[in-house]
C-alpha cells in the first residue's frame, strides 16, 4: 500500500493560516523571555532572582499565577456542567474552547508552581507522602487529577482530527463520569484555595480574612471563570476572524449577577455582623483597595451583567467580563500578597518576567491549538495571509 502523505491521512491536522500580526509576535517574545527567566531562576535560586525573603515567603507567583490563574480557569467546569449536567445543549459550541482554556491555565499554574517551589524535582512527593490535614495537599491532588480530567475532556478534539475511532468511543462512554469528576474536583480545590488562607488569621488583613474564604473563593471562581470564557471567546473571534457568539454568551452570563450578588451580600454582611466594617472607616490603603475591589470587581460587573442592554452588547459583555476577572485577581492578590502581613515586597523583574511570560505562553498554546486543531471554523480566504 502506498504511503499516503500526512496531510492526506489527517486532513484536519493541517496548519490553519491565520494571520500572524505584531501582537502574537510580541507574545512569542514575552513567552520566550519568561521561559528563559524561569530556567535562570532554577539555576540561580529563588534568593538571587526574586524579592522573596524569610519575612515574605510567597509573592506574585502564588497570589497571581497560582491562586488567580486557577480561579480564572473555573470556566471549564462551569460550562461543562451547564452543557452536560444541566443539559443546556445550545451552549455546546462554547465547551471546547472553555475546556482548552481551563486545561492550559492548569498546565500554567502547575508550571508556575514548579518555578516557585524550592525543590521542584520533588513535586511527586505529594503522591507518596500524605498529610490529609494540609489544604495544599488536597489542592495538589485535585489539580493533578483535574488537569488529567481536562486533558481527557479535550482529547476528543484530537482523536476526531486523527480519526481514531476507538479512543473516541471510550472517551464518549465516560464523558458524564468525567464531567462529574471535574465538577467535584473543582469544587474541592477552588474552595480549598480559600481554606489554605484561613490558617493565616494573624497575617491576612481582617477586611479579607474570613472563615468564609473557601466559599468566597468558590463563588468568585464560578463568576470569573465564566467571565474568562466570555473574554477568551471574544478575543478568539476577533483574532481568528469568525463571529462572536454574543447571543449565546448573553444568555450564559445571566447566572453571574446571582453568584456575584450572593458573594457581595455575604462579604458585606459579614463585615457588619463581625464589626469589621470599622476597618473601612479607618481609611488608608486597605479600605481604598477594598472599595476598588468590591465596587470595580463585584458591583460594576454585577450591574453590567444584570442589565440586559449591556450584556447583549459585545463591548458591554466583554467589559463586564474584564471587571469580573479583575475582581477575582484583586481579591487573591489583596489577600495573599498586598495585605498579608510580612516584610516589604515588590516583585522583582524576574518574577514579573515569569508571570507575564507564562501568561503569554498560555496565549501561545491556545493559538497553537487553534492553528493545528479543528477548534474553530476554517479561516476565510480574505483574512488569510502567508505565514
Amino acid at each position: 500500500m502506498a504511503a499516503r502523505s500526512f496531510s492526506a491521512r489527517y486532513p484536519q491536522l493541517h496548519l490553519r493560516r491565520y494571520k500572524v500580526g505584531p501582537g502574537i509576535i510580541f507574545i512569542w517574545i514575552l513567552g520566550a523571555l519568561g521561559l528563559g527567566v524561569a530556567v535562570y531562576r532554577w539555576i540561580a535560586g529563588l534568593g538571587a532572582t526574586t524579592n522573596l525573603s524569610d519575612g515574605r515567603g510567597w509573592g506574585l507567583w502564588i497570589s497571581f499565577d497560582m491562586m488567580s490563574g486557577i480561579g480564572l480557569a473555573a470556566g471549564a467546569f462551569t460550562v461543562a456542567a451547564v452543557v452536560y449536567i444541566f443539559n443546556l445543549k445550545k451552549f455546546y459550541p462554547i465547551v471546547r474552547p472553555a475546556i482548552l482554556t481551563g486545561f492550559i491555565s492548569y498546565l500554567l499554574a502547575a508550571f508556575t508552581l514548579l518555578v516557585d517551589l524550592g525543590q521542584p524535582q520533588r513535586i511527586w512527593h505529594l503522591l507518596i507522602y500524605w498529610n490529609i490535614h494540609s489544604p495544599l495537599f488536597e489542592i495538589g491532588w485535585c489539580v493533578m487529577l483535574y488537569t488529567t480530567v481536562l486533558a481527557l475532556e479535550f482529547s476528543p478534539v484530537v482523536f476526531e482530527a486523527l480519526g481514531w475511532k476507538v479512543p473516541l468511543k471510550i472517551i464518549r462512554a465516560i464523558t458524564i463520569p468525567l464531567i462529574v469528576a471535574g465538577i467535584t474536583l473543582s469544587t474541592m480545590h477552588q474552595s480549598t484555595l480559600g481554606t489554605m488562607l484561613t490558617i493565616l488569621p494573624y497575617r491576612i488583613h481582617p477586611l479579607w480574612y474570613s472563615p468564609l474564604m473557601p466559599l468566597y473563593f468558590y463563588l468568585t471562581a464560578i463568576a470569573a471563570g465564566l467571565a474568562m470564557t466570555v473574554f477568551e471567546s471574544y478575543h478568539s473571534a476577533r483574532t481568528y476572524g469568525f463571529p462572536f457568539e454574543l447571543k449565546l454568551f448573553s444568555s450564559l452570563v445571566k447566572i453571574i449577577p446571582y453568584v456575584l450578588g450572593l458573594y457581595l451580600a455575604l462579604r458585606v454582611g459579614e463585615l457588619f455582623v463581625t464589626g469589621k466594617y470599622m476597618h473601612l472607616l479607618e481609611g488608608g490603603a486597605p479600605a481604598v483597595m477594598w472599595f476598588i475591589e468590591i465596587i470595580g470587581g463585584v458591583i460594576i460587573p454585577l450591574l453590567f451583567f444584570a442589565d440586559r442592554k449591556t450584556r447583549e452588547d459585545a463591548d458591554g459583555i466583554v467589559w463586564a467580563a474584564f471587571f469580573t476577572m479583575g475582581g477575582l485577581i484583586l481579591n487573591r492578590v489583596n489577600s495573599a500578597m498586598i495585605f498579608m502581613d510580612g516584610a516589604f515586597y515588590m516583585p522583582s523583574w524576574s518574577e514579573l518576567a515569569v508571570t507575564f511570560g507564562l501568561t503569554a505562553f498560555g496565549v501561545i498554546l491556545f493559538d497553537a491549538a487553534v492553528r493545528f486543531l479543528p477548534l474553530f471554523p476554517e479561516p476565510k480566504p480574505e483574512t488569510v495571509k502567508q505565514l
Binding site: A44, G45, L46, G47, A48, D54, G55, G57, W58, T78, A81, Y84, I85, F86, N87, K89, K90, L117, G118, Q119, P120, Q121, R122, I123, H125, L126, Y129, W130, N131, I132, H133, S134, P135, L136, E138, G140, V180, I183, T184, T187, M188, S191, T192, T195, M196, T198, I199, L200, P201, Y202, R203, P214, L215, Y218, L219, I222, I255, Y258, V259, L262
Partner: protein, 289 residues
C-alpha cells in the same frame, strides 16, 4: 443561580457536620495533659545577661556557619535565618530593658505540621517539632502559617530546604540536654518536662511581683514547649499576642468536610444529570434540541 445556592447550602451543611464532630474538642481538652511530660524549656528573661552562649552553642551543635557582613567580617546576626536557629535580642524599653531568646516554640499543636503537604514536619510525642528535609518540596507554606515566623528558607541555594531549631531532638533522645540550655551560665534557660517548667515559672512569678504576670507559651496558640517569663510585656519582646485556639483547628473542619463535599457534589451532579436527561435514551438522543 442553582449552582451557587446549592453549593452554599452544601458548604454550610458540610461545615456544620464537621464542626459538630466531637473529636477535635476532646483533643483540645486533653492537649495540655498529654504534653505534661514532654520536653520543654523555660527562658527567664530577667536572669538572662545576653551573653549569647546559647546562640554559639546552637551553631556549634548544628554545624551552622557564622554569617559575615557584606565586607566579609563576622558579626552578630540580626535575626533568625536558615543559619541562625536561635538568637538573643535586647528590648531597650523606656523603663526596663529585657533580653529575649528566639527559636522554634515547638507548639503542642503546630500550624507548620498541619499545613505541610508532604508531612515533612512532624510533632514528636517527646516534644520537638522535627523536619524531614528529604521530603520537603519547598512550598514555604510552613513559613506563612507559623504564627511566630520561625521556619526560614535557604534563599541562597538553588535547591533550598527549610531550617529551624529542632530542639536538639537527637541529643534529647540520647538522654542529653539541648545545646543552648546546657550552655547557659546563669540558669536563665532551663530544661525539663513541661509540667516542671510551668511549675517553676509560676513559682518565680508568685515570688516576685516585678515579673509580668503571665507565662508566655502556656496557652498561646494552644500551648508551646518553649515557655517564657519576663519583667516586660511580651509584645515588646516580639512575641505576638495569640489566643489559646490552636491554628490547625481552624482548617481541620474544612478538611474533614472534604469527603462530604465529594459525596454531595457527586450525588447532586448525577441527580441533576438524571433529571435533565429523563426520557432521553440512545435512540432518541438526536431529537434533543
Amino acid at each position: 443561580m442553582a449552582i451557587s445556592r446549592r453549593d452554599f447550602l452544601k458548604l454550610v451543611g458540610a461545615g456544620a457536620v464537621a464542626f459538630s464532630l466531637p473529636a477535635s474538642r476532646v483533643q483540645a481538652k486533653g492537649r495540655f495533659v498529654r504534653a505534661e511530660n514532654s520536653h520543654a524549656m523555660l527562658y527567664d528573661s530577667v536572669k538572662c545577661v545576653g551573653c549569647r552562649a546559647c546562640q554559639t552553642a546552637c551553631k556549634a551543635r548544628s554545624g551552622l556557619p557564622y554569617e559575615p557582613d557584606p565586607t566579609g567580617l563576622y558579626e552578630m546576626p540580626r535575626d533568625l535565618s536558615a543559619n541562625t536557629w536561635t538568637i538573643i535580642k535586647l528590648y531597650d524599653g523606656p523603663q526596663q530593658d529585657a533580653f529575649v531568646k528566639q527559636q522554634c516554640m515547638h507548639c503542642i499543636d503546630p500550624a507548620c505540621v498541619s499545613v505541610c503537604p508532604v508531612a515533612a514536619l512532624e510533632k514528636t510525642p517527646e516534644g520537638p517539632v522535627i523536619y524531614h528535609g528529604e521530603r520537603c518540596i519547598g512550598c514555604r507554606y510552613c513559613m506563612a502559617a507559623c504564627p511566630f515566623g520561625i521556619p526560614k528558607s535557604q534563599w541562597d541555594k538553588a535547591l533550598p530546604l527549610i531550617q529551624k531549631c529542632d530542639f536538639c531532638a537527637d541529643r534529647l533522645a540520647a538522654g542529653g540536654k539541648p545545646a543552648c540550655g546546657e550552655a547557659c551560665p546563669t540558669g536563665a534557660l532551663i530544661y525539663g518536662s513541661r509540667k516542671q517548667m510551668l511549675e517553676t515559672a509560676h513559682e518565680r512569678l508568685n515570688a516576685d511581683a516585678t515579673y509580668f504576670p503571665h507565662v508566655y507559651g502556656e496557652t498561646e496558640a494552644g500551648g508551646t514547649s518553649m515557655l517564657y517569663i519576663s519583667n516586660v510585656n511580651y509584645t515588646n519582646l516580639g512575641l505576638p499576642k495569640l489566643p489559646e485556639k490552636e491554628l490547625p483547628s481552624i482548617t481541620w473542619p474544612y478538611m474533614a468536610a472534604v469527603p462530604a463535599v465529594i459525596g454531595v457534589m457527586v450525588t447532586l451532579s448525577t441527580g441533576i444529570y438524571l433529571r435533565t436527561h429523563r426520557g432521553e435514551n440512545g435512540a432518541s438522543k438526536k431529537k434533543e434540541e
